[in-house]
Amino acid sequence: MNGLLETVAHTLAPGLLYPTGGAILFALGLYGLIRRHHLVLRILALNIMGSGVFMVLLGVAARGEGPPDPVAQALTLTGIVVAVSATAFALALVVHLTRLTGHAVMLPGPPDDDAPVEDISREEHHADGGPADRASSEDRPA
Amino acid sequence: MDGGWLLLAILFSSLGPGIAIFFLPEHRQGLRTALNLGGAGTKLALVGVLLAGVLRGDEYRFSLPLMPGIELVLAADALSLLFASLSAVLWFVTTVYAIGYLEGSPRRSRFFGFFSLCVSATVGIALSGNLITFLIFYEILTLATWPLVVHRGTPAALRAGRLYLAYTLTSGLVLFTAIVWLTLLAGAEGFTPGGYLDGLAETHATTLQVLFVLLMIGFGVKAALVPLHSWLPIAMVAPAPVSALLHAVAVVKAGAFGIIRVVNDVYGAELAIELGLTAGLLVVAAVTILYSSIQALRTDDLKQRLAFSTVSQVSYIILGVALAGPLGIIGGLVHLVHQGITKITLFFCAGNFAETLGIHRISELNGIGRRMPLTMLAFTLGALGMIGLPPLAGFVTKWHLGLGALESGMPWVLGVLVLSSLLNAAYFLPPVIRGWLGERREPWHEPLQAHAGPTRFETHWMLLFPVVFTAALGLLVGLFAGLGLSPLGWVSLIVQRDYSLPGFGL
């Protein structure tokens, strides 16, 4: 009985419990990533996956007897910042994609064959706008 | 290593001008011609120097490490010089011819660039000192020839080019695999007269047989052995100098030369016989000779007929090698040169007919001997040489092959030669007869004069000179075959010196 209790206690120690939770989050994120279409949701799913990773890392760091491993925590902090940067960039891309195409999902298919590809080295530029201007103005109804 | 620079110089005497020509603007005709002829002349001179050196018994060798344990080796032995001199001489002639042939046509820089590249590759093949080097130049040749085949840019030309590449690249891969395999087994040895695989014969007999088949498939496509030959007649859509190059100087020869190298210098004739490899090769060569002769008989298109004739004639070389006796090898090797000279004459003539009078079919040749006597004379010499009539080059070959067949105890090969000669006569005599004795009633249609104005001779001198030259050469090498420096004399030297076989004293 004692042994069982000990095993349970061991299992439920944060050093194992949280990593397990992290693994679940990771799997959950992966599941969501596969299942959902909207790009924002996909970004959320990736963030949840990332959180899963951090949870594993912090859980592992907290496994020992003494104070938690500061290196792991530092790594997590770095990871979070990286994640937020990537998220911010991804969101910016999503906004621009929606602006250009009118939807925020990824279209399947190879970039064939008649898709107009613009060549930036040819474009005429005006002082007040970047290439994006032109793309957007083309995209919009006259 | 001292002599190595000579080999490199020979290689670069065409490569350098070739690359320079690529970057030459289209209109710099004079400079291009100068580069072309300069390169060709330099190469000829350098090969001459090398020839003298090898005759003296000097060693020439250049090596460059490519991979650990594997080197790029250029070496000059008598056999390589045979091929090198052939291509140097014929290249010179073909260059002159091509300059005349392409006068006024577009994209000549590209053409001559690749043309030079082709010849560099061919000389590289000739001077290769081991299989890997051989393979390298062999594949370069494949690639450099393709732009020439498709040079006209017509859909037919492109399709022909595609077929050519499909055949040659596939065979190249087979060859590649076989060579890597062989190198794994036996190491990256250089070509050794008598072969270097003796040590493996006991343990790896089956492997060696399989490898031989693979190697033959690899070389057989370029050498146009029969089930692998279909690209060659199709590649006829290329301009005449290219056909000449394909059939006489470079491509087909490269394949045949590869077979010679493999049989003589990799396996060695003895081992090849012991493993039963030559017998198979012999049968394939015989079938090729007869089959393609029959095909040649079936066509009315002059160049197509010539192409099938090439298929047949190149197999003479292989037949000789497969006989694997001294006389057979002499016959095979000497045909390497003889076929080249003779066939290039014929192709030049066909080109002249097409270029000067717009004639492509044998049935249109009636009476052409009166309009273009020199070309027709050259054609006649070439055709008779192909049939194997003395004193032309082809006879010397046939004679040695016949004797070689008997020497190797295979009299049925003589029957093949007889049949083939009959077939050769059957498809080569009609154009000759039509040309000299046929009657033409309507006036000639003159595309060349229409676009380039009247010519002093029967056609542009740059088209005429090569024809006359090679025809005369074909006559002389046969007539003076007994000279020491004639192809026959040189080949006998190879056989005596490198294979330690007694020459056949007549």
Binding site: D112 | V237, R298, G388, L389, P411, L437, L479, L506
Partner: protein, 573 residues
């Protein structure tokens, strides 16, 4: 020096051929054409015995020499070509394409002279081929359909002959181990080599059953060409036999009997078919077949009777010379049909020149024919031949009777074509050429008797002999019977070229088949439409498949599947 002399003989016509070919218009060059045979004649007459030369650098070593047999053949050949050449010069005077004729003439001449001097297999083959193939140009020169047909048959047989000869030579040289003709013969070619050599040379010699080019080619070719063809060129085959067959002390009974059989058969068949022909030159052609048959039989005898081979060979040679000159003269006679003189003395001379060679061939005493026949029959009396061969002498005489009849037939058919020349003036050059050849019918035996060359002891008795008369008489009777009983027709009862008709039927069928089998022009084929559609479909499928792969859920699933797969493989130790 010797070498240069020997080489000059065949080289001179070759050089001239090049010049004539390059400058077709030059009359002066044309006039030199006949005289290129002269050095050969001079050499035959004046050269010291044992003249020989070796050229190592030519081909695979060339050996030229003038031996007694060669001397006789050279004299015949050069003389005949000279006379015929002179004849041709005037006969071809108005031919717009005469320079072409001359080029082929010179080439064939070179070959013919050269093969006599050649003493090694390669050179022999070289000149033999040169002669055979160049003669094609002479045969088809007129450009008429008849000539083309004759040329085709001639060419096919010539090439076949070349090839067979080549194979035979290769086999023979291989077993001899060297290429000298004497060595080859000494090594006694046998088996296939022998068969090939006999056949290859036999085609040229008009041997049965490969004779049928002769009756086609002779009438089709211009007169002087027929003269040299029949007088000189077909002797090349004979010479080849004499040089290459194992005519030595051992002999060769089987071959000898075979040659006897073929030769005698040719002798009789030639007569039989010849007499039913209508064109004079065709008749002469069959006569040639018949006469060559006799010479073939002579070779056969030499093989059968090794002890007597020396005399027999000399006899055959003599016979060849005699026949060459006489037949040459007769062919020129055919070409003189338009020169029937108006004056009586002229007509007498004309008649004499006409009859002389004819009678010589028939074997009238004191003609060359008599001498030749006597010499040939000489050894027969001494030796005993087995079986049917014991009747050889009788058979030879019967053949002579046939010859007489055949020549009468010729004269008869020829007579109908006689006419006087339009301008009335005799063509002197033709007369000279013709006359000198005709005169040889009596001059030759005289010369031989007087000079008495080595190996050919000729007694005065050989010049005549009553045994020769009865066949001539028999021939006259036969001719009379023929003339009396057989109604003459304008088309021959047996078509010209007998066997050639059969061969040509087969040839025509082959040609039809060839037309059907003709290859399409060398165009690389486009991909068939069905395949192209398939390719498009495949392309579409690929695009669709890639689109499926591109779907995000596919990426995710594949990613997870990859992880799982990797994990499983890592577990599988």
């Amino acid at each position: 020096m010797n070498g240069a002399l020997l080489l000059a003989v065949p080289l001179l016509p070759l050089v001239l051929a090049v010049f004539v070919g390059l400058r077709p218009g030059r009359a002066r060059l044309n006039r030199m054409v006949p005289w290129t045979a002269l050095p050969g004649l001079l050499l035959a007459a004046l050269a010291p015995t044992g003249l020989e030369a070796t050229f190592d650098s030519l081909l695979m070593g060339t050996h030229l020499a003038l031996d007694p047999t060669g001397r006789a053949f050279l004299a015949l050949t050069a003389g005949l070509w000279l006379a015929a050449g002179l004849f041709a010069l005037s006969e071809r005077r108005d031919d717009p394409r005469r320079h072409r004729f001359y080029v082929f003439w010179l080439l064939a001449l070179a070959g013919n002279l050269g093969l006599i001097l050649a003493q090694d297999a390669l050179a022999f083959y070289l000149f033999f081929a040169l002669m055979s193939l160049s003669a094609y140009g002479l045969v088809v020169h007129s450009g008429k359909p008849e000539a083309w047909r004759a040329g085709r048959v001639y060419l096919i047989l010539a090439v076949l002959g070349e090839v067979l000869l080549f194979a035979g030579l290769v086999l023979a040289v291989h077993s001899a181990g060297q290429s000298g003709l004497a060595a080859v013969a000494a090594a006694r070619p046998d088996g296939w080599a022998l068969v090939l050599l006999v056949l290859g040379l036999g085609i040229k010699a008009g041997m049965l059953p490969l004779h049928f080019w002769l009756p086609l080619a002779h009438p089709a070719a211009p007169v002087p060409a027929s003269a040299v063809l029949s007088g000189a060129m077909i002797k090349a085959g004979l010479l080849g036999w004499m040089r290459l067959l194992p005519i030595d002390a051992a002999g060769h009974a089987v071959l000898g009997e075979m040659l006897m059989l073929l030769g005698l058969a040719a002798a009789f068949l030639g007569v039989l078919i010849g007499v039913v022909q209508v064109r004079p030159k065709t008749i002469l052609a069959y006569s040639s077949i018949s006469q060559m048959g006799l010479m073939t039989a002579g070779i056969g005898l030499a093989l059968l009777l090794p002890e007597a081979r020396g005399g027999l060979l000399a006899a055959v040679t003599l016979y060849a010379v005699h026949h060459g000159l006489a037949k040459g003269a007769l062919f020129l006679t055919a070409g003189m049909a338009g020169q029937w003189p108006a004056s009586i003395p002229g007509r007498a001379l004309f008649g004499l020149f006409t009859l002389l060679p004819a009678l010589a061939l028939a074997g009238l005493p004191f003609t060359s024919g008599a001498l030749a026949k006597n010499v040939l029959k000489g050894p027969l009396a001494a030796e005993a031949l087995p079986g049917w061969l014991s009747h050889t002498e009788l058979l030879l005489s019967l053949a002579a009777a046939g010859t007489t009849a055949l020549l009468l037939r010729f004269l008869w058919r020829w007579r109908t074509g006689l006419s006087t020349p339009a301008d009335g003036a005799p063509d002197r050059r033709r007369w000279w050429a013709w006359g000198s050849l005709a005169a040889m019918a009596v001059l030759l035996p005289l010369g031989v008797w007087l000079a008495g060359p080595d190996g050919l002891p000729v007694t005065a008795g050989d010049l005549y002999g009553l045994a020769l008369l009865w066949p001539v008489l028999l021939g006259l009777v036969l001719a009379g019977i023929t003339w009396r009983w057989i109604h003459d027709r304008e088309t021959p009862r047996v078509p010209e070229g007998d066997l050639a008709v059969l061969a040509e039927a087969a040839w025509r069928r082959a040609c039809r088949a060839e037309r059907r089998l003709r290859l399409p022009p060398p165009q690389p084929r486009r991909m068939p439409a069905r395949l192209r559609v398939l390719r498009l479909q495949l392309r579409q499928r690929l695009e669709d498949a890639e689109r499926v792969l591109t779907r995000w859920e596919t990426i995710g699933l594949l990613f997870s599947a990859a992880m799982l797969g990797l994990y499983l493989t890592l577990l599988a130790r």
